[in-house]
Amino acid sequence: MKVGVLALQGDVREHINSLFDCGVEAVAVRRASEIQSVDALVLPGGESTTISQLSEVFGVYQLIKERIASGMPVYGSCAGMILLAEEILDAKVGQKSFGGLEIAVRRNAFGRQIDSFESDIEFADGSTDLMKAVFIRAPWVERVSDSVQILASVDSHPVAVRSKTALATSFHPELSGDDRIHRYFIEQVARPALEKVK
């Protein structure tokens, strides 16, 4: 499996390292040909307004949107979650997302940087171990449709959700040195989705 990390802006290197730790091939992708060449995509943490704008400027917005819509497995952390949301609350005027997850996400819902925090949270992957989660100017999920399953919450706000082919977290597993989320994405989201296509 070859996983691309969208490298227009954000903490690309950290996601690539986490994916390497899971034993998959991981590459930074910016151009259409590079995005075409991967089996699955990770949308990193960063500034969602910048990433979506650059995707339009460099002509890959439509390609990413279509690949996600046609079932390419995708994982987004923080800004990546916003980019996967069908609806963005507190968006910049005209801000676009790729969509793919039937959720409404509120940007910077946990507050500004002084409110950014770490917390040990439960994650519904079958393990009862708590997981260190890093939230930075983090969004939360405000509404989900029936196609979406909630995997983790903080103060009753969903912070990790999935559909059949898409996973999103408000927090940054790529910063905590724990590859549990990336492993979940590879083994429980991407691999089953790709095998079905075959």
Partner: protein, 295 residues
């Protein structure tokens, strides 16, 4: 489920999210919106851009809280603001306003010519300038969660930024080549804590994100700094002292993302109108050089 704020990981992590991006100096809400629309990852709110501080002279201080709040209300991206070196009360004021990052900056007139702010004492993270590795590690030792090479702000002359990036990069490469028993003397020479020196020697990079600043005025300047290993770019006077700020801002963002693709940089550089006129750093009398503030 205790939620802990202001940790090192949260502070340094915030800077990680800015990587590959451009942070732009703005002096009002209108400029902040132009910067956000152009794809800036954050804005730096200040009363006068460095070129004007240089031209007008006098003591440069923290900005008016009203102005910072107007900018915070105008944009959804992170808002940073500058405090004077050593002025921990200005920093407390900025923290109380909820700015996302404080730049303890040599562009403002220092408040303390011996001590910098104890940055561990704050929930808000700090970025500090550095001209060499020892200076960067001393700032990190005081709690800086992000470093920017200083360059010479407000000149539009990229030569000092280049010099500082080469210096920091060169000193990191040298550390990586030393035997472990030589790191004690290296720490002494760098005037930096041994533990940080050892960490840099082992990892081959700073423990925090390294941006570059000072004199960047064109898309090619931004790409040059990325090629030198910067994680991202601060652009101060270069945008809003140019002929067409909106277009130049967007062009610098593009060139920062595709810093390794000359065709993209060429396209971004077309028809931008006049760049800021600028001053050659060599023509600046030594007392007017901002990079020499901080130690």
């Amino acid at each position: 489920m205790a939620e802990v704020t202001g940790t090192g990981r949260v502070k340094r992590g915030m800077a990680e999210m800015l990587k590959g991006g451009v942070i732009m100096d703005v002096v009002n809400a209108e400029q902040a919106k132009i910067a956000e629309d152009a794809g800036a990852v954050a804005v730096m709110a200040l009363e006068r851009v460095p070129a004007d501080i240089r031209a007008q002279g006098g003591v440069a201080r923290m900005s008016d809280p009203d102005m910072i709040e107007k900018i915070q209300a105008a944009v959804s991206i992170p808002v940073m603001a500058k405090a004077r070196i050593g002025h921990f009360v200005e920093a407390r004021v900025l923290e109380s306003l909820g700015v996302d990052y404080i730049d303890e900056s040599e562009v403002l007139t220092p408040a303390d010519y011996e001590n910098h702010i104890d940055k561990f004492d704050f929930t808000v993270p700090f970025v500090c300038g550095a001209t060499n590795l020892g200076e960067a590690l001393r700032r990190i030792n005081e709690g800086a969660a992000m470093i920017r090479s200083k360059g010479e702000a407000g000149t539009g002359d990229v030569s000092n930024a280049m010099q500082h990036m080469r210096k920091i990069g060169g000193e990191i490469r040298r550390l990586s080549s030393l035997r472990e028993d030589e790191l004690y003397v290296a720490a002494k020479e760098l005037q930096a804590p041994y533990d940080l020196v050892k960490e840099v020697a082992q990892t081959g990079k700073l423990p925090v994100v390294l941006f570059t600043a000072g004199g960047i005025a064109t898309p090619a300047d931004a790409a040059l700094m990325m090629s030198m290993g910067a994680d991202g770019v601060f652009i101060g006077s270069g945008i809003f002292k140019s002929g067409n700020p909106a277009q130049r801002a967007a062009a610098c963002v593009k060139a920062t993302t595709f810093w390794d693709d000359p065709k993209v940089i060429a396209d971004a550089s077309r028809g931008l109108g006049e760049a800021m006129v600028g001053i050659n750093v060599a023509d600046l009398p030594a007392p007017h050089r901002l990079a020499e503030r901080g130690w």
